[in-house]
């Protein structure tokens, strides 16, 4: 008997005879009626967490904003279309991710009620780009703001079908492990900036 078969047999034995009272999966309740998510709500939630938000009417404004923030310092940028459109893409390497001051990537979704950003690793976006540099800049199309987790999972019911990794990031990396004092930027970035672009089709 393999350890697998042994473990499953032990579990089945523990469960006892089949046919319990909870035959059916609890149904998902209908989504609550929520007010349409707005970028303004996201911005408010995100700022409470210690994040910084800029608005850009179009790609050119987004590029100018990023330029101003980066101010000539080192950066690593992802090959996501919106980042490329801003003219910031660089080749990926672990070494570059580990040494760059900024990581610049797109965000796939933003959650208005919690101020979270959602990153899938599809379309060639690195995991480490939002993790190793001390300052992360995420570029977000305005219509990617959804109300919250329920809408995220309605839009992406099977994250695993799209990518090996989906991460929901809610604010800068933080810890309270030393006397419950809040410190930002433990292992991930201590600073997170979002550029919300109103219309990516215009320049």
């Amino acid at each position: 008997m393999t350890p697998r078969d042994q473990m499953l047999a032990t579990i089945r034995n523990a469960l006892g005879p089949a046919g319990s009272q909870n035959e059916h999966q609890p149904a998902r309740p209908a989504d609550r009626a929520r007010a349409a998510a707005t970028a303004a709500q996201f911005e408010e939630s995100f700022k409470v967490l210690g994040g910084e938000v800029f608005h850009a009417a179009n790609i050119d404004e987004a590029r100018a904003t990023i330029d101003r923030i980066v101010a000539g310092r080192s950066y690593l940028a992802s090959p996501a279309p919106i980042v490329e459109a801003c003219g910031f893409s660089t080749p990926f390497s672990r070494e570059a991710a580990a040494s760059a001051h900024f990581g610049i990537s797109s965000a796939d979704f933003a959650l208005a009620d919690t101020g979270s950003l959602v990153f899938l690793s599809e379309s060639g976006e690195s995991r480490l780009i939002s993790l190793l540099p001390p300052h992360h800049i995420a570029v977000l199309e305005k219509d990617k703001v959804v109300s919250g987790l329920d809408q995220l999972f309605a839009r992406v019911p099977h994250p695993a079908a799209r990518s090996s990794s989906m991460v929901i990031v809610t604010g800068p990396s933080r810890t309270g492990d030393i006397e419950m004092r809040l410190v930002r930027g433990v292992h991930g970035p201590g600073e997170v900036t979002v550029i919300i672009v109103d219309d990516v089709t215009r320049r």
Binding site: T2, M7, Q25, L132, F153, P157, A160, T170, V186, G188
Partner: protein
């Protein structure tokens, strides 16, 4: 019994204050979040409870579904009946791959099976990367609290442990640890994480954290191993909404923790980073004994938020080291007796019920404590005393004869009463009992 640790905790005023204020802060954070959505929060708790109950009752099917989907995503599932099977697999894999440095993110399950000892004794350097766990590892101690492992350490003690300059601030100490651990992340051949949830329909593990160390442990090294008790499985990715919404609110009073990583297998084509190999180690190690006990099965629904610890007046006095196993607080009291011999543990509760009131998956901890008390071995003297009690209480004439007790000025300070009287005085009782007064009135 851990009486020495209890006495130490009670006698240390600084520690008392540290435990009390840290737990109060987390409890206050929870209170504020729940107050924002009182009715919805209760609905979420009920749904979380129902999903867990359903899953536990059909867990064999969900584990097989999980395995199929992990394999479909290019990962591997290792079924470990015991802690030794789990740590043997990890040690062997590290050897086969020539790995001599492993980074770990916080995992109570790995504490449970003494994984670090197994790795270190095989010459494999193993580094805890959660700041609190790192401090505890350097101090050669155990986590003090499920989600705040170094809760009992002062900033001065942390400064010493990290060998930092005197008067370092929390920011400076954190930066120091960040720099040291960053090197380890980039050099390690294996990253080990726990898992908050296993998603059957996705073949995914979900890891929730605030620092980014679990995200790094699962993304930077070439191999990612997730170690989880089998009870962590839930059916669908969509069920996460419910659990994520109660987890961080219950734990620290955040709406969501900073990083929620949903990880399905190794990196795929076109993905620039992520592990080349992914292993999920599913651990039993005695969990099936809890599963077999229908009345206590729901103990396995725990999502390790720590809310029951923060609200427990006993934990807040005796602290994390007074419990005999890795899981402390109320949840530790109901899990531990299934795993190690600790018959006294279920009695170390005033049954105040604060834990059940806050549990995000509605585990009825006081009820389970009562059942464990019933099953606990009892002394002959106590059994006799309880039989006497029942006999007196069902014989009112005899019961009335005991009213002389009230007229004693002092009770003999002997036996269990002696310890009791060291803490408090007895109340002055009226000279005449209610029933005597009542009789006089008629």
């Amino acid at each position: 019994m851990k009486f020495v640790q209890i006495q130490e905790a009670l006698g240390d005023a600084r520690l008392q204050n540290a435990i009390y204020s840290a737990t109060a802060r987390m409890a206050e954070g929870r209170r504020i979040r729940v107050a924002e959505m009182p009715d919805e929060f209760q609905e979420l708790r009920q749904r979380a409870h129902d999903i867990k109950q359903h899953t536990l009752d059909h867990i064999d099917e969900y584990l097989e579904e999980l395995e199929r989907n992990v394999v479909a995503r290019g990962g591997h599932v290792i079924w470990a009946n015991t802690g030794k099977e789990a740590s043997d697999f990890i040690v062997d894999l590290a050897r086969q791959r020539g790995v001599n440095l492993i980074v770990k993110s916080k995992s109570m399950t790995s504490e449970e099976i003494h994984l670090n000892d197994a790795l270190e004794s095989n010459g494999i350097e193993t580094v805890e990367t959660d700041l609190g766990e790192y401090i505890i590892q350097l101090a050669h101690e155990k986590p003090y609290h499920i989600i705040a492992p170094a809760l009992h350490k002062t900033i001065g003690q942390v400064t010493e442990i990290l060998q930092a300059p005197a008067d370092s601030t929390a920011e400076q100490l954190t930066a120091l640890a960040r720099a040291k651990l960053r090197e380890k992340f980039l050099q390690a051949g294996i990253g080990i994480t726990g898992a908050n949830f296993l998603i059957a329909d996705s073949g995914a593990v979900v890891v929730v954290e605030n620092e980014g160390n679990a995200r790094l442990s699962s993304s930077a090294p070439r191999i990612h191993i997730a170690l989880a008790g089998f009870e962590k499985v839930i059916p669908r990715a969509q069920d996460l909404e419910v659990f994520l919404r109660v987890l961080a609110r219950s734990a620290t009073g955040q709406k969501l923790s900073v990083y929620t990583s949903f990880l399905a297998g190794p990196r795929r084509e076109g993905e620039p980073d992520g592990p080349d190999e992914f292993y999920l180690v599913l651990l039993d190690n005695g969990r099936s004994r809890v599963l077999a006990d229908r009345n206590k099965r729901h103990s396995l629904a725990c999502i390790r938020c720590g809310a029951c610890l923060n609200h427990c007046p006993v934990y807040r006095k005796i602290g994390g080291y007074s419990y005999p196993w890795v899981y402390s607080g109320p949840i530790g009291k109901i899990l531990t007796p299934h795993f190690i011999d600790a018959p006294w543990l279920p009695f170390a509760s005033s049954l105040c019920g604060a834990c059940a009131e806050v549990c995000p998956v509605k585990i009825d901890i006081p009820k389970i404590l009562l059942e464990l008390r019933e099953e606990a071995p009892k002394s002959r003297a106590e059994k006799l005393a309880m039989r006497m009690f029942a006999w007196v209480m069902t014989h009112p004439r005899i019961y009335e004869k005991f009213s002389w007790v009230r007229r004693m000025k002092k009770l003999p300070a002997a036996g269990p009463l002696k310890a009791w009287l060291e803490q408090r005085d007895l109340p002055d009782l009226p000279q005449r009992s209610f029933r005597e007064q009542w009789r006089d009135r008629r």
